[in-house]
């Protein structure tokens, strides 16, 4: 029973985080001072997520293995060149397979 309460509480709390700005903003548009910071939400959040996945593990600094790092770097570089987000997976995964196979020998 307590597990259900915990899951429910996390769910309700998360929905409150999701909905509160939808209710606060109402029919008005964004105040202008928020425009500049809003432009940095995506780069900052994505970098933080990628960093937490590749450079940390269970709350301490723990850098991922070489094939993973190389694959992500490859994906990043490809998208820089082509501008198509799909290409990150298209070049990154083969890079990972190749380097993992080489490391296995």
């Amino acid at each position: 029973m307590i597990v259900w309460i915990v899951i429910g509480a996390v769910g309700v709390g998360t929905y409150v985080l999701r909905v509160c700005m939808f209710l606060v903003v109402g029919r008005r548009s964004l105040p202008t001072w928020t425009v500049v910071p809003m432009g940095f939400v995506a780069p900052a959040a994505v970098a933080a997520l990628v960093g937490s996945m590749l450079l940390t593990q269970h709350g301490s600094i723990d850098v991922a293995a070489m094939p993973e790092l190389a694959a992500v770097t490859m994906g990043f570089a490809t998208v820089r060149r082509t501008g198509n987000v799909m290409h990150a997976i298209a070049t990154g995964l083969p890079t990972f397979w190749l380097l993992s196979a080489m490391a296995a020998f």
């Binding site: 597990v3 259900w4 915990v6 899951i7 429910g8 996390v10 769910g11 709390g13 998360t14 985080l17 999701r18 909905v19 509160c20 700005m21 939808f22 209710l23 903003v25 109402g26 029919r27 548009s29 928020t34 425009v35 500049v36 910071p37 809003m38 940095f40 939400v41 995506a42 780069p43 900052a44 959040a45 994505v46 970098a47 933080a48 997520l49 990628v50 960093g51 937490s52 996945m53 590749l54 450079l55 940390t56 709350g59 301490s60 600094i61 993973e68 694959a71 992500v72 994906g75 990043f76 570089a77 998208v79 987000v85 799909m86 990150a88 997976i89 990154g92 995964l93 990972f96 397979w97």
Partner: protein
Amino acid sequence: MTVTLDRAPAAAVVAPWRLVREGARDITPMVIGVIPFGLAIGATVATSSLSTAQGLASAPLIMAGAAQLSTVQMVDAGVAPVMIVVAALMINARILLYSASLAPWFSGESIGRRLLLAVPVIDQMHFTCVPRFERGDLDAGQRRAYYAGAAGWLVSAWFASQALAITIGATVPESVGLHVAAPLALAGLLAKSTTSNNTATAAAVAMLVVTVGAGLPFHSAVLVATLAGITGGTLLARSRS
């Protein structure tokens, strides 16, 4: 910089179903990144002390992978319930930022619709929808259609991948590289979103802080790092204008 919310060029008359498809198409790279994550969480749930019903229900109830994973693992480890909830909400606090950036695009909608539109607010929805809306050629109904297309595809892929892994308890060998798909999809996004000095600085600050601050309490490293990145970028932009 100007924000245009409700003005759309009269020429841009596009059928809603085409925008549903466009939204689904645009979020596909993110969906490919999310499926392995869903499988991994499903596999964790399958081997945890949670019942199958609790595991299956936790996906739609929480609808945020990292917080769900943390909740499952902490329940399993017997952590105090209050601590589990606090940790999960700290992980999800960034959703507040996405809520703030998405909400203005739907400010003309009825209260009922806004309550519904808030349900799928998550990283991938923000990264996909906000750049599309900022092009300024969609009216309110078209934005809704685009948003629904993206959300429908993302959410169904998310539930399906988790349900699959929970029911068959699947574990995929690490050599397939499914665990690399999520950071790869995000790396592509990072490449697209860091095209100026200011955005690159925001990203660099966030990545540094998330690494150095890995041990911050309540799993708050990602949130603190995101806020630090936003602050860094904003200060740099201010000092240059």
